[in-house]
């Protein structure tokens, strides 16, 4: 992982955000979520619940987890035809089909 250890060996803010993202996706039981949806799940029902110190690490966490093969991402079209990037946890055995209620 990149930059997940602090100077005294403790977890950095990025490492904490990565763990929260993984927990949010684990709770989804294999379904795919967009970045804003993961953001909501981490922060509760309202976006105002999160502080600015957390949200700026969301996409670095998502992309670093994808680069480390912990997550897989795909561009899918929502009901309105708009393409959104969704994430899900990567499994050892590849799964076919993406479950996303966009």
């Amino acid at each position: 992982m990149n930059g997940t250890k602090g100077p005294n060996g403790g977890a950095t803010a990025l490492a904490v955000e990565r763990r929260r993202v993984l927990d949010a996706l684990r709770a989804g039981r294999g379904e795919a979520l967009t970045g804003p949806a993961i953001n909501l799940r981490i922060g509760g029902s309202s976006t105002t619940h999160l502080t600015t110190a957390d949200e700026h690490l969301l996409y670095p966490a998502l992309h670093s987890l994808e680069a480390d093969w912990r997550l897989e991402a795909m561009w899918l079209a929502d009901a309105g035809g708009r393409r959104r990037r969704v994430y899900r946890r990567r499994r050892l055995l590849a799964r076919s089909g993406w479950i996303w209620h966009g």
Binding site: P36, T52, L57, Y59, P60, H63, R83, R84
Partner: protein
């Protein structure tokens, strides 16, 4: 069954190479798409605000983008994704009662400074795992690129030679100017060596460029940032290989080209490396392989000469004038009975020319050592021969007073043997082998005459540069 296994070998060989090349092209195309060399499947980023005023979201993304330093497709994906996120975030904040401007400011503020976000995203994308994937993919693509470049370089070399021949013919016919004939005298060895040098120069350039573009796409780095690594690797790798390891026909023009190959490969890694590679289709590879390799393999199968073998040459004295006086006077019969030594034969392969002269079987009770008791410093000598193009003459070229090569003869049973490394000499052309020795009076005499052959240099560039002649 032998024919069947031969065909099976050919099919597996061609199929294996074809599969390797198709896999290489697929890998390179994937990297090219990521670097922006192909169509992107990413939605465009947030549209500009109406009225022409600068859109704060676009401005934020534009400030972030220079810090990303990622391939074009990754940059487009990041921008589109962040634009989506900001759109959702602003909509949610407006739904909670914020004014539009305040919602935009709040949403942008939560993502933090744009340059810092860009830097964090770049670090996230350029992981160690992807770097290793880039190195491995680059090496794989370099191998396939070398093969493709070699095939393409051979085609380029053949076209250049055809153009040269056509131009020389035109000059000769129209203007009356005759250029030197590169195909006579050395049996076309110079032309072959130049063709090979051109082919491997193109191959080295293609291999290096494929490596740069592929590794950049896989590791999520810009081609310019990985080019220096591959340029250094090309200079060291190709430099060592073509200077010391690669062995083949050589000539001064081909040596000059091969000495430039490391620089050509380094230039291919650096010069305009942001430009995408030309696309090579899979069917083009199949057609190329079927059209080039299969006829070549068939031709080799039809004309194969097998392992080098000793051939028997005529025992009778030469009828035409072989200019033997150039070498030495014939040995007096008192010192060496006429016909005591007969020509055995010689055989040539890439490791040298093995020569053997035998004791006449009719001399029962005698050994080679006893027959040559009066002689010392017995050696095989290879002399330049008159070229085939002169039909009225044959034998040794009287212009030369010293042999090309001399090698002490070793008695082995009833034979005198030696290995002449004519393939390590720059001289390419006809030669004639004789056996000489120093007689009781201290003079060198001709003991027996062998036959002739054709030789061309086979070695590395270093061998060519350091050979004595």
């Amino acid at each position: 069954m032998d024919a069947l296994s031969g065909w099976l070998t050919i099919i597996l060989y061609v199929g294996g190479i074809g599969g390797f090349l198709i896999a290489t092209v697929a890998l390179v195309r994937r990297s090219e798409r990521r670097l922006g060399g192909g169509r992107s499947n990413v939605s465009p980023a947030a549209p500009a605000a109406p009225g022409g005023s600068p859109d704060p979201i676009t401005t934020y993304l534009d400030q972030m983008t220079p810090e990303l330093m990622l391939p074009a497709e990754d940059v487009a994906e990041v921008r589109a994704e962040l634009a989506d996120h900001l759109g959702d975030s602003i909509a949610n904040l407006e739904a909670e009662g914020l004014e539009r401007e305040d919602a935009v400011r709040e949403a942008l503020g939560r993502l933090g400074p744009p340059r810092e976000l860009g830097r964090q995203l770049r670090i996230a994308h350029q992981s160690t795992r992807r770097l290793l994937a880039g190195v491995g993919g680059g090496i794989f693509a370099a191998g396939g690129g070398f093969v493709l470049g070699y095939l393409g370089g051979t085609a380029v070399g053949l076209l250049l030679m055809l153009a040269t021949v056509a131009g020389a013919t035109a000059l000769s016919t129209v203007v009356g100017l005759h250029l030197p004939d590169m195909t006579s005298g050395d049996g076309g060895s110079t032309a072959n060596s130049i063709l090979l040098a051109i082919a491997i120069a193109v191959a080295a350039a293609a291999a290096t460029r494929y490596a740069v573009r592929t590794s950049a796409g896989l590791s999520r780095r810009s081609p310019g940032s990985v080019a220096v690594f591959w340029a250094v690797a090309a200079v060291l790798g190709f430099g060592w290989w073509f200077l010391f390891a690669y062995r083949g026909p050589q000539s001064w023009p081909s040596v000059a080209i091969e000495l430039c190959i490391p620089l050509i490969a380094a230039a291919a890694a650096i010069v305009r490396v942001e430009r995408p590679m030309p696309h090579v289709g899979r069917w083009a590879i199949v057609v190329l392989l079927v059209g080039a390799i299969v006829p070549m393999v068939l031709l080799l199968g039809v004309t194969s000469s097998g392992p080098a073998s000793m051939t028997t040459i005529s025992q009778s004295g030469p009828e035409p004038d072989l200019h033997l006086a150039t070498v030495a006077p014939m040995a007096p019969a008192a010192w060496l009975p006429d016909g005591a030594i007969i020509g055995g034969g010689w055989g040539s392969d890439a490791s040298g020319t093995r020569v053997a002269f035998d004791l006449n079987p009719s001399l029962s009770g005698l050994t080679m050592g006893s027959v040559l008791a009066n002689w010392r410093d017995i050696r095989f000598e290879a002399w330049r021969a008159l070229p085939d193009s002169d039909p009225g003459s044959t034998g040794i070229d009287p212009q030369y007073t010293t042999p090309l090569l001399a090698q002490p003869a070793v008695i082995s049973g009833d034979s005198l043997q030696a290995v002449l490394h004519l393939e390590r000499m720059r001289y390419s052309g006809m030669w004639w082998v004789v056996l000489t020795g120093i007689g009781p009076d201290g003079g060198r005499y001709l003991l027996q005459v062998g036959g002739g052959g054709n030789t061309s240099f086979n070695g590395s560039v270093w061998d060519w540069l350091t050979t004595a002649q």
